[in-house]
């Protein structure tokens, strides 16, 4: 009840303050538009110019895999009662169906994929060094017996599991995501091809066509080719999705949003001391309002202001700048968690400012810390083009976390991909809130100095 009136009163106060409104709403919207257009050129070049470098590590030995496959083919097929001629036919076909060729030439060598990814084949050790040095963005590991298993999968009714691993460099998240997505598309398409082929074989067997079906190896090959076509199509989609954040308007919409909600914390950071200096704090205390109640009121006010900012900026950018934010529940989750974190931060500022008895901290926050956070978090320029050291510091910025999360949803990821970020933001919010409570409730020390000064001035 009391908290509700405190919130209502604070919202009214804040919304009637034109200067505050300009900072928290008008500026970010203007900047979204300006940065979105002005930095378009630089932005797209910086992305299109740099392809993603990866290393591929072969953990299998080609010769032994091939030999193994041929032996297995002879033994098991014959054992299953396949005619000797069919077996040999299959064996011939086996030479044509080369998984290495499919991956390296048909897939990675295709124009679509090679536009995005440049690969080199490296030993595991070298690859890891390259990754650590940041010279490549990801390692794709082809597991032991990769060739053998793929051949089994592509040519026989059997299905052996093949797990392709992608190790990414955490500093190059964008690149890592692209590689991950592309390899995922590859393996998805391969398995649908394999399943398709198995269905074909099983259908043939069920119709008692038996061995004859193997004679039409061409049919199988066509299936594989069709599957590879499918892979290409999907890669097209992936490429588009993966590269969507390079749209400068999208990027800066999220970047400005993530940065300017910090000003809600700045505004909120002044609130407690302002109450004290206008003696309304004392009046609230006399009315029996608890300090915690007042603090909770401020927390919620900042939370609501930040949410409002997020809502207005999201809607504006979607309608006017045609920004596609992505999955609704994900962006709602990120928005709420970010507002929560901002509210926590603002409450800490408010408690510290109250304790210090002057607005220095709140001022430093607004004129310095927000700018630093904006830089580290990628609100001015994408952190991927900043030096490595900076990229590592980006975890310190609340806006950076929110921005990363929004980039994910913009790329088309769902909730699973952003829950981590949401949890981090919520955790930050909770930790800050706790800290604020501790700071405010600590035993009073210098609390009356202000009153003393006021009394002196009058005298």
């Amino acid at each position: 009840m009391k908290i509700r009136s405190i919130i209502r009163k604070d919202l009214k106060t804040l919304l009637s303050d034109k200067k505050a409104l300009i900072i928290i709403l008008l500026m970010p919207i203007i900047l979204m538009v300006i940065l979105g257009f002005a930095l378009k050129g630089i932005f797209i070049e910086s992305w299109e110019g740099s392809k993603v470098n990866i290393a591929i590590v072969k953990q299998y030995v080609a010769e032994s895999d091939l030999k193994g496959f041929n032996d297995a083919l002879q033994n098991s097929l014959l054992a299953q009662g396949m005619g000797a001629d069919t077996a040999s036919e299959l064996s011939d076909a086996s030479d044509e169906v080369d998984p290495e060729n499919i991956l390296f030439n048909e897939f990675l060598g295709s124009t679509e994929v090679s536009d995005i990814i440049v690969y080199r084949i490296e030993s595991e050790k070298n690859a890891k060094e390259l990754l650590n040095r940041g010279e490549i963005s990801a390692i794709v590991v082809l597991p032991e017996k990769y060739l053998y298993n793929m051949k089994i999968n592509l040519l026989t009714p059997f299905r052996n599991e093949v797990e392709i691993k992608v190790l990414t460099n955490p500093d190059a998240t964008m690149d890592g995501q692209i590689v991950n997505a592309i390899m995922q598309a590859y393996s998805d398409s391969m398995s649908s091809a394999i399943i398709g082929k198995n269905v074909l074989i099983e259908a043939a067997m069920a119709n008692n066509m038996g061995n004859d079906s193997f004679k039409g190896m061409e049919a199988v090959m066509t299936g594989i080719m069709a599957a590879l076509e499918a892979v290409r199509v999907e890669v097209d989609d992936v490429a588009l999705e993966g590269r969507k954040p390079i749209m400068s308007s999208d990027y800066y919409a999220a970047a400005m949003l993530a940065m300017f909600i910090l000003f809600a914390a700045g505004q909120g950071g002044r609130m407690l001391l302002e109450e004290k200096e206008s003696f309304t704090w004392q009046r609230m205390m006399v009315a029996g309002t608890s300090k915690l109640g007042i603090l909770a009121g401020k927390f919620l006010v900042i939370f609501i202001i930040a949410l409002l900012q997020i809502l207005i900026m999201t809607i504006f950018s979607q309608l006017v700048l045609k920004v596609e934010w992505g999955d609704f529940s994900s962006i709602a989750g990120i928005g709420i968690a970010a507002a929560f974190a901002v509210a926590g931060l603002g409450t800490v500022l408010a408690a510290v400012t109250y304790r210090m008895g002057n607005f220095k901290i709140a001022n430093i926050f607004e004129t310095g810390i927000i700018q630093i956070m904006a830089l580290l978090g990628g609100s001015f320029v994408p952190i991927d083009i900043l030096p490595n050291a900076f990229q590592k510091l980006s975890v310190l910025s609340l806006n950076g976390i929110a921005l990363k999360a929004y980039q994910k949803t913009m790329m088309g990821y769902g909730l699973e991909a952003v829950v981590g970020y949401i949890a981090v933001l919520a955790g930050i919010g909770a930790a800050f809130t706790l800290l604020a409570v501790i700071i405010l409730m600590r035993k009073e020390g210098t609390d009356h100095v202000k009153h003393y000064q006021a009394a002196r001035i009058k005298a």
Partner: protein
């Protein structure tokens, strides 16, 4: 209703309130008079549970207010010395916020706001922003904010500081009217006229201590008979000082430039003698002023200094 026993409050080395005791009875207007820095506001902060005392007890209707702050909070209205309002909100929004804090809502709140506006005479401007108000209007709203929940005890800390005589009279009449309706009031001021006008009982504070207490008449009684006569002469010389000084019945006398100040038990008795001796000396009297004792004089008598510089 309110009983203060041996209350002490220090800020580091500063003894703001130094062991004061007094009692406020239901239905009275109790005055707390004292110069700047006497410790009035500090006392009030303690009474309104804003500051913990360094020592002593405050009982409200028999309950210790530091053990049970809720007991006093809901029945207490405080008009702080400093304007405690939200300048960017309207008068109405301010009142409705403070009403909310005391648990008033809806129609009841609306009715109380109207009544309070009537009392403080702000009905016409109540929808305007407070920062557009004059000093006197802010003072009145500052009082109004403390009245919404119909407190049984109203503490007013220098509610008339720095405002025009008209607003001031309005406020003084408001205080009397509230008291007439049954509200107990503690009124703080360093204007002795106000306290004389309003209060049935008065405490005079100086440097954290109560130096005198009682009804106005009782206090004046303390320096009873001590009348002051101020003579303004055409010219001054040693002769005349001597002649006047020798008149019987004068307790003390000081002179400065053309003025002579005389203290005596009974002015009527000696005034004729004084005038006669001055005329006899060939000097001329420009004016004679006989001052009846008042609280100002009481304060002067007790502390040897004026209430206000």
């Amino acid at each position: 209703m309110l009983k203060v026993e041996n209350l002490q409050k220090n800020f580091g080395n500063i003894m703001a309130v130094d062991g004061i005791s007094f009692e406020v009875r239901k239905g009275e207007v109790f005055g707390l008079l004292g110069p700047n820095g006497a410790g009035k506001s500090t006392t009030i902060s303690v009474l309104s549970t804003l500051l913990p005392p360094s020592d002593g007890v405050v009982l409200f209707e028999g309950k210790n207010i530091f053990e049970e702050p809720k007991a006093i909070q809901s029945k207490l209205g405080v008009v702080p010395q400093d304007i405690a309002l939200y300048p960017t909100l309207s008068g109405y929004e301010n009142l409705s916020f403070w009403g909310n804090l005391y648990g008033l809502t809806g129609r009841e709140l609306k009715k109380r706001i109207e009544e309070v506006c009537e009392i403080i005479g702000l009905s016409e401007r109540i929808k305007d922003r407070v920062d557009k108000y004059s000093g006197g209007m802010k003072r009145r709203l500052n009082i109004g904010a403390a009245l919404l929940h119909m407190p049984e005890l109203l503490i007013m800390d220098e509610p008339t500081v720095g405002i025009d005589p008209q607003s001031r009279n309005h406020i003084l009449d408001t205080v009397l009217e509230l008291n007439r309706q049954g509200m107990t009031i503690i009124y703080t001021s360093h204007y002795m006229e106000e306290v004389e006008y309003l209060c049935s009982r008065i405490c005079i504070m100086d440097q954290g201590k109560i130096i005198a207490a009682g009804s106005k008449d009782e206090l004046v009684e303390m320096i009873s008979g001590k009348t002051e006569i101020a003579l303004l002469l055409e010219s001054m010389d040693q002769e005349i000082v001597k002649t006047v000084g020798s008149i019987k019945g004068i307790d003390s006398m000081v002179h400065q430039e053309n003025q002579i100040l005389i203290r005596c038990e009974n002015a009527d008795m000696i005034l004729a003698d004084i005038i006669a001796s001055i005329t006899a000396s060939g000097n001329h009297l420009r004016s004679v002023d006989v001052k009846k004792p008042n609280l100002e004089a009481v304060f002067l008598h007790l502390t040897g200094k004026a209430l206000r510089d």
